[in-house]
Symmetry: C2
Subunit: 199 residues, 2 copies
């Protein structure tokens, strides 16, 4: 027993963080050791407060500390446009651009038969049953262009066929600032397919 029990337990806790192995976890323990007790209590409180207060928005599924998130609750957001995303990370990314004024619908994952994630495990049916109404004009599908993203996108498109709404997806193409020379062939093909006529 080289390390004290409390040391090993805290190290184990840190190893549950993504990308953190033995060495990084040990460094975190020394960092905690060098902090004042007040600061460590703050960290512990922040963990508990986050876990106790952060929940999913009853309307869109986005992370929030209220029943309804500040986007769904905002008078200034356009409720007729719903942007469908995989998770709250995507919402934060779109919000950082400050350009999108519609609302979101957070699926909480993507359909993946290999990982046994089926449509009923995701926040899909509430989109169809609860979100879309006579005022809905457009559903933007904003999922990652992966196998799972495409599969989920197709599934949602299918469910939306009967509804009287426009369905769109993000454009695929060359990222700004990229060099065509280094792009993968699939992206180039997509950029060609999705080309925008200028005249």
């Amino acid at each position: 027993m080289i390390y004290p029990e409390e040391f090993e337990k805290l190290q184990e806790s840190f190893k549950s963080f993504p990308g953190i192995g033995d060495k990084s976890a040990e460094r975190f323990v020394y960092a905690i050791d060098s902090l004042d007790i007040d600061k460590v209590e703050d960290i512990a409180d922040n963990l508990i407060n986050f876990k106790k207060n952060i929940r999913k928005c009853k309307i869109c599924g986005h992370l929030t500390n209220r029943d309804v998130c500040n986007i769904c609750d905002s008078e200034s957001r356009d409720k007729s446009i719903i942007c469908v995303v995989e998770d709250s990370k995507s919402v934060f990314s779109f919000e950082k651009t400050g350009k999108f004024r519609g609302t979101y619908h957070v699926l909480g994952g993507l359909i993946s038969p290999i990982d046994e994630i089926n449509p009923e495990d995701l926040n899909i049916y509430s989109l169809i049953n609860d979100r879309i109404n006579d005022e809905t004009l457009e559903v933007i599908i904003a999922l990652n262009p992966t196998v799972e993203g495409e599969m989920t996108s197709l599934y949602i498109q299918k469910l939306l066929e009967d509804k009287n709404v426009k369905v769109s997806r993000l454009s695929y193409g060359i990222p700004m600032g990229a060099d065509i020379e280094y792009l993968d062939p699939l992206t180039i093909i997509r950029a060609m397919d999705d080309r925008k006529f200028l005249s």
Copy 2:
């Protein structure tokens, strides 16, 4: 206000960890979000328990959950040999080799005029005044071979001149500029075996 308050506070907490910036801290927050409340409470408890119970050994200064660490308290350790180290990380590194059967003295840092760390800020005088007695045969100085390590080593050597003990330092099998924490056990054993007597 894109992120909920609890999200930002927890992210800030994680940013106080070494080497963790915005992005990693955000990933940690999502990881916490995906854990059960029980697991998060465990992490919070482990933080508090570590901070409340881990203290410095009254004899050697090593991290311990008791008044006297299990090394100083052990019948089987050779109290006549004291290995002087910078911090508890070094103790753990030596202990992992399983070869050293003496005791330690943890300085809690190195003399560094630039960083305004003077001898009186470190656990040096208790080595001279309290640890060394008639039964002490040898003091091994096991500090990193850096400017601060050499300076601290020389300072301790000077203080030990009047004492009737052998003083040794680790051999320079250790590459200059390296950190004991990251060395493989074999190199540490070699450095221990090849230690050079100074008096």
